[in-house]
């Protein structure tokens, strides 16, 4: 039997009992739509998560922290002793080792300010997140500026875009409007650094700083950071901690390793980990996030598949009924020379056809439903955004391209599988009994 003839025959047979086929297909429509909607929701969650994580940082950057031994560093066989050789400090020579790894573009040490500090501007103040970096250009970290330059010099700072929002008026009377965030570009600000002796006496140090650059939004750590030259942070730390820091001996508290190609980041990070340090790339985090959402998609898809299972039972029932009604027709087909395979193909084709039709309908319904969800979500989000004034994800449900294709193939397969038993029964009927069936 030719494939095209088979298709036409199957289509003709399906249109013979339109109402029954339609009702059976409705089950498949519901199941497929459930799969489409749930998986598109999971995809939407994944997309908005990665949108939010987009600013997690430049994918070419690896954060490296020193390792102080401990977990995972036990010597095999012997006692669980963490020997001094397990301690890996970010000394200058360690940084040199990193620079020697192929694919590494630059290695930049960084330090936090170790004491509490306050930044004052006019009558406003804020608690800053001061980061000292071992380069005179913030651009080395992959950041660019909105205004001003990325270059750092003594007495100058480059700030993240949301830093001005942290300013508040300490003398604000209750009930009064808080002041708008100040425009700090090219302004002089006062930094006050505090230190306390063992008796709790406070000493202050005032430093005048000029904002020479405002960074572009990254939605990452640097949005809230104030970058200073490392040397200056080191001096302030030495003053507040009353000790000297020797980076050749004590190491830095963190280093940023920048690779030339984002694809190498994982590999380089693994090498650094193998050297005994703790390396972290946004990529490994992203991978974890992705895995989580793939699992979520599978679980959501599975929930939808339960609806499809119910539909499959419906198809099996419809086909069993149909075969019972058409027993004599099956007998006739065999009498005029249809082989068992021909009969099997016809009835499997009909079952698959119901699945296919239901799948088409389900994709349409699922698509409409996810559009509706998106419209509802965007209305809700718009309200939320109005209150918070920040960008929230624009979509809730996303239908990836593979989803309709997968849904159609899957629903057709479900139809075929549920038609398998009835079709096999039809194919193996004894012709004479089928012909005499009343």
């Amino acid at each position: 039997m030719k494939f095209f003839d088979l298709l036409r025959l199957v289509a003709g047979n399906l249109t013979r009992r339109k109402a029954r086929v339609a009702l059976t297909a409705v089950g498949v429509v519901i199941g497929t739509a459930a799969v489409v909607v749930l998986v598109s929701l999971a995809s939407g969650l994944r997309q908005s998560a990665s949108e939010q994580l987009y600013g997690i940082g430049d994918l070419t950057l690896i954060q490296v922290s020193p390792s102080y031994g401990g977990e995972g560093m036990y010597m095999g066989g012997g006692g669980a002793i963490s020997s001094p050789s397990d301690v890996k400090l970010l000394t200058n020579s360690a940084l040199e080792d990193f620079r020697a790894i192929p694919g590494v573009e630059s290695v930049i040490p960084r330090e936090y300010l170790m004491s509490s500090a306050l930044i004052k501007f006019q009558k406003l103040e804020m608690y800053p997140n001061i980061i000292g970096i071992g380069t005179n250009d913030v651009a080395d970290l992959g950041d660019t500026t909105d205004r001003g330059s990325t270059e750092l010099g003594r007495g100058s700072i480059v700030i993240g875009v949301t830093v001005p929002q942290s300013f508040y008026d300490p003398n604000l009377r209750p009930g009064k409007e808080p002041p708008p965030p100040p425009d700090l570009f090219n302004q002089q600000v006062q930094m006050v650094v505090f230190k306390y002796d063992s008796e709790g006496h406070e000493t202050r140090k005032n430093i005048a700083l000029r904002v020479t650059g405002v960074l572009k939004e990254t939605r990452g750590e640097s949005d809230w950071a104030i970058y200073m030259p490392l040397e200056q942070v080191k001096l302030l730390n030495e003053w507040s901690q009353n000790r000297r820091f020797n980076y050749n001996k004590d190491g830095y508290s963190m280093a940023i390793v920048k690779v030339t190609d984002a694809n190498q980041a994982m590999e380089v990070a693994d090498q650094i980990t193998a050297m005994g340090f703790q390396a972290y790339t946004p990529q490994s985090f992203l991978e974890g996030i992705n895995n989580f959402f793939i699992i979520l998609q599978v679980i959501f898809g599975g929930v939808g598949a339960i609806a499809l299972l119910v539909a499959a039972i419906g198809i099996a029932n419809t086909m069993a009924m149909s075969i019972l009604e058409r027993t004599r027709e099956i007998g006739l087909m065999k009498a005029v020379g249809a082989t068992n395979r021909d009969v099997l193909a016809i009835f499997l084709g009909e079952a698959a056809g119901i699945g296919f039709l239901g799948g088409l309908g389900g994709i349409a319904v699922g698509w409409l439903a996810s559009q509706a969800i998106n419209i509802l979500a965007s209305i809700y989000m718009a309200n939320q955004a109005g209150q918070q004034g920040s960008g929230l994800p624009s979509v809730a449900a996303v239908i990836p391209l593979w989803l309709p294709v997968f849904a159609l193939v899957f629903s057709t397969l479900v139809g075929m599988l549920s038609g398998l038993y009835p079709a096999l029964r039809a194919a193996t009927m004894v012709p004479v009994l089928a012909l005499k069936y009343e």
């Binding site: 025959l9 249109t15 013979r16 020379g337 004479v432």
Partner: protein, 223 residues
């Protein structure tokens, strides 16, 4: 079945020559339909041999039997067995789908055969729009579609009135005259006028005409 012996044909020994018109007669339960279905490969014998043109039907598997039916045989049934959703033309062409004939050739051949049974102007009618006699002629056209050597008809006039029955008999007779082998199982004594050979069956046995007549008479007397 309640201890009774169920005998669907038993001790039959029949030979049918090519080019004959054979009528099989016998009372209900004599096994005449079973004989026809066994010859057509639609039923399987539990013992004995069936061969057509030297090919042993009882030794074929299902697939081979299906192919053999397609090539060699055309069936005509008492209840026509037309497919209600197809028009006359499609019904006639239906068996050729399994033979893999393309749609254009199917149409030409089906039109030809409908003309042969005098229904060329009923090609687009569905079975429900045709009389019993017309339906049976469509069914005969369908039986001819793969140019079979052997036509097997099971009570072809059983559901028809006298005149449509006669028309069907004439069509079958014409087929015989055109060189085909025809085997008809029937109750209808008029069919014997067209036949070249007659087989009388009683309880699965082939009997002579005299014995058959006397058995029929006996049955009448009991009534």
């Amino acid at each position: 079945m309640g201890g009774q012996v169920v005998r669907a044909l038993d001790n039959v020994d029949v030979e049918i020559e090519e080019g004959t018109f054979t009528v099989v007669m016998g009372p209900s339960g004599s096994g005449k339909s079973t004989l026809l279905y066994l010859l057509g490969g639609l039923d399987r014998a539990t013992s004995g041999e069936i061969s057509i043109e030297g090919e042993r039907l009882d030794q074929m598997d299902e697939n081979a039997l299906a192919l053999f039916r397609r090539r060699t045989m055309g069936f005509v049934f008492q209840s026509f067995n037309l497919i209600p959703s197809m028009d006359a033309l499609e019904n006639v062409g239906f068996p050729m789908q399994f033979a893999g004939t393309n749609a254009k050739q199917r149409k030409i051949r089906a039109q030809e055969l409908l003309a042969q049974v005098g229904l060329e102007n009923r090609a687009d009618h569905r079975p429900s729009e045709l009389s019993g006699g017309q339906q049976q002629r469509v069914a005969i056209a369908r039986a001819l579609v793969n140019a079979p050597k052997l036509i097997l008809a099971d009570e072809p006039t059983g559901n028809l009135d006298t005149s449509s029955g006669s028309a069907v008999m004439r069509v079958l007779s014409d087929l015989h005259k055109a060189g085909r082998t025809v085997l008809v199982v029937t109750h209808d004594p008029r069919m014997t006028h067209f036949a070249t050979h007659r087989i009388y069956l009683l309880d699965g046995r082939v009997v002579g005409e005299a014995e058959y007549e006397s058995a029929a008479l006996e049955a009448l007397q009991i009534e």
